[in-house]
């Protein structure tokens, strides 16, 4: 295979992985710390993208738009947590699924009412619009590269936050034994809200960065939400490290599956069959990966709880 294509596809896979990581990091903490399933996480992603598109229209500056949209997405997360989700922590998972499914319906309609059903266009900022030649002869979109850089920076920030700060220590303690942390006099409810805000903000950031790459439309959060679930299940619920490894793995497998499977199958099958079968297999690749991981490690690659 052409090495330049290989590099380009690796970067694409890594970029998708980074995007998934931004979604998965917040969600896995919510799962791990609160033992709560939140289907509405994709809605924060959608809200982040729509807010960014709106602010870009208002201020004509992508950076400023992101800087404004991310805290607002986090704020939406806090409001949702305080109003609806707080009462659901002790409930069984069925209640949580149903209530957060209701939230998705609500947010999708709300966005439709506020912004209309037509997808919005979001263009990357001027200084990231072009191509960068990392390796001579292999131009790569600067914006996608910026996404990768931001993702790595967020990963480093989370590693520091969770591993090195007092808040991170409390989050880890809350994930492994909630009752004990409460008994030691920590206000766990405030930690929950903080974790939730962090998760919603990261999802909003992912949405803002996905805007120029994909379309900003109603329901955009749901496709990535399900991919995020796959990532979290592979990585192990509650583990940020697992979320990172799982996200990159899923990003790579998905990207390379789409490129390599049809071409590889053409070696054995006639071209039209190979295209059909290859496309089917490629769209199933990450789920097959997930099934394989679960078969051998039902709790994921890096289970957070002992």
């Amino acid at each position: 295979m052409d090495p330049l294509l290989l590099i380009e596809q690796s970067l694409n896979g890594f970029q998708l992985g980074v995007m998934l990581f931004l979604m998965a990091a917040g969600l896995t903490l919510v799962f791990g710390v609160m033992d709560m399933i939140n289907l509405a996480h994709g809605s924060f992603y959608m809200v982040g993208a729509y807010l960014t598109a709106t602010f870009v229209g208002l201020f004509d500056s992508f950076l400023l738009a992101v800087v404004l949209a991310v805290p607002l997405a986090a704020l939406v997360g806090v409001v949702v947590e305080l109003v609806a989700l707080r009462t659901l922590y002790g409930r069984d998972h069925l209640d949580q699924v149903l209530a957060t499914f209701g939230l998705i319906l609500f947010f999708n309609e709300l966005v439709k009412i506020v912004w209309g059903p037509v997808p919005l266009r979001l263009t990357p900022p001027e200084f990231l619009a072009g191509q960068v030649e990392l390796i001579p002869g292999a131009p790569y979109p600067a914006f996608r590269l910026a996404v990768i850089v931001v993702g790595i920076a967020v990963g480093a920030f989370l590693w520091y936050l969770i591993g090195r700060t007092r808040l991170g220590m409390l989050i880890r303690a809350g994930a492994s034994n909630r009752e004990m942390v409460t008994a030691l006099g920590v206000d766990i409810a405030r930690i929950f809200t903080a974790v939730f805000a962090l998760g919603a903000g990261l999802a909003g950031l992912a949405g803002a960065m996905a805007g120029p790459i994909l379309a900003v439309e109603v329901g955009m959060g749901e496709h990535i939400l399900i991919l995020t679930f796959v990532v979290i299940v592979i990585g192990g619920i509650g583990s940020v490290k697992g979320a990172f490894v799982g996200a990159v793995l899923v990003g790579m497998v998905d990207t390379f599956g789409r490129v390599l499977l049809p071409t590889t199958l053409k070696l054995f099958l006639d071209p039209s069959t190979a295209d059909g079968v290859g496309a089917s297999l490629a769209s199933m690749a990450i789920y097959i990966l997930m099934a394989a991981v679960l078969f051998f490690r039902p709790r994921g690659l890096f289970p957070a709880h002992g």
């Binding site: 033992d35 002790g90 699924v97 149903l98 939230l103 059909g276 199933m284 097959i288 679960l294």
Partner: protein
């Protein structure tokens, strides 16, 4: 118990209503209602099959629509090959015989449910929910990639499955009673099943799986068997639904549909025999009539009716856990009062710690 008697009377009314509906609707010149209620009964079958694993087995499957879709695609694919005379995978001829496609839909859906259940049931809790969702999504994308069967656009199935005289699915009334009979048969089967030894183990595993294992039962096998049965019943529901709508496509497997099925089960009453039927009826009637009603209030409001459905779902979760069946029993008010008091709600076992 007053609740039990009220329940019996309510169910007798429901059954009487369902049996008498077609002749009355046709006499009133409203054949649309017969078709609408046929779809409701078929959807109720899917919801009831989900209730078997969700309500009685405690397995929150978020991918149940996938099995409905598989059953639908069996009918659709068999029809495609029957209409253009080709062979499926170069081996099997197509057919529109109901005696072939309806059982085949169940078998195929059950066979798909077997490995999926086998893998999913290795996990519990949140992972189980997410993995069933992921597998359903996998099947969804698989159907989209089937170019032979029109991918995203799906298959227009313009010939209904043929069943022997006097049953004729082209006849509204006949189709309605087929759907009703299938639903009642499944509900009766569920009733027998959950009260059998099998059902007792299943329900016990829902409450405390560790204890069931300690008693020497393979809880995993019981749950898997229930998962496969529910998948097969959902497949039958899908096969009937294709006959009713004349179309099958990837939209059958969309995850929103799985969510809708869960909503129906919970709305009607989790773990009750007739709850899913009430839930399916309530949700589909709302879907049908609320938009018109809201448009009457303010122009364009009906289009966005789901903005009300979302918060209503949250309120149901918070305050009316027993669903419509709770209303039938007359215990809804009581449970609402209990909710408002600070003590824990009754009938819910404490969450098991990891």
């Amino acid at each position: 118990m007053a609740g039990a008697r009220r329940r019996k009377i309510a169910l007798a009314c429901l059954l009487g209503f369902l049996v008498l509906l077609p002749p009355v609707a046709l006499a009133a010149g409203e054949p649309f209602y017969v078709s609408l209620f046929t779809r409701i009964l078929i959807t109720a079958l899917a919801a009831a099959s989900l209730n078997l694993i969700l309500g009685f087995g405690g397995m929150v499957s978020f991918g149940h629509a996938a099995f409905v879709g598989i059953g639908g695609y069996v009918v659709g694919i068999a029809f495609v090959h029957a209409s253009d005379g080709t062979l499926f995978l170069g081996l099997l001829p197509g057919t529109v015989s109901g005696f072939v496609v309806l059982p085949l839909a169940m078998i195929v859906a059950g066979l798909v449910a077997l490995p999926i259940g086998a893998i999913c049931l290795r996990t519990t809790g949140i992972s189980f929910i997410m993995i069933t969702l992921a597998f359903a999504q996998m099947l969804y994308y698989l159907m989209i990639s089937l170019r032979r069967y029109n991918g995203q656009d799906g298959i227009a199935v313009w010939q209904r499955s043929e069943l022997p005289w006097p049953i004729d699915l082209d006849d509204r009334m006949s189709f309605y009673y087929v759907a009703l009979a299938v639903l009642l048969a499944f509900l009766y089967g569920t009733h027998r099943m959950v009260n059998s030894r099998f059902g007792r183990v299943l329900r016990a595993a829902k409450d405390n799986e560790r204890r069931v294992r300690a008693l020497g039962f393979h809880a995993y096998r019981y749950k898997l068997a229930a998962f496969v049965i529910a998948g097969a019943a959902a497949g039958l529901s899908g096969a009937l639904l294709v006959n009713s709508t004349g179309f099958v496509g990837p939209s059958y497997l969309e995850w929103h549909r799985s969510g809708d099925l869960i909503v129906m089960v919970v709305l009607g009453g989790v773990g009750t025999l007739f709850g899913p039927v009430l839930g399916a009826g309530a949700l589909m009637l709302l879907e049908e009539f609320i938009p018109e009603l809201l448009n009457g209030l303010a122009d364009g409001l009906g289009e966005h009716w789901k903005i009300f459905l979302g918060p209503i779902l949250i309120l149901i979760v918070l305050y009316a856990r027993r669903g419509l069946m709770g209303l039938v029993d007359g215990s809804l008010g009581g449970s609402l009062l209990r909710r408002l008091r600070p003590e824990p709600p009754p009938g819910k076992p404490p969450r098991r710690r990891r």
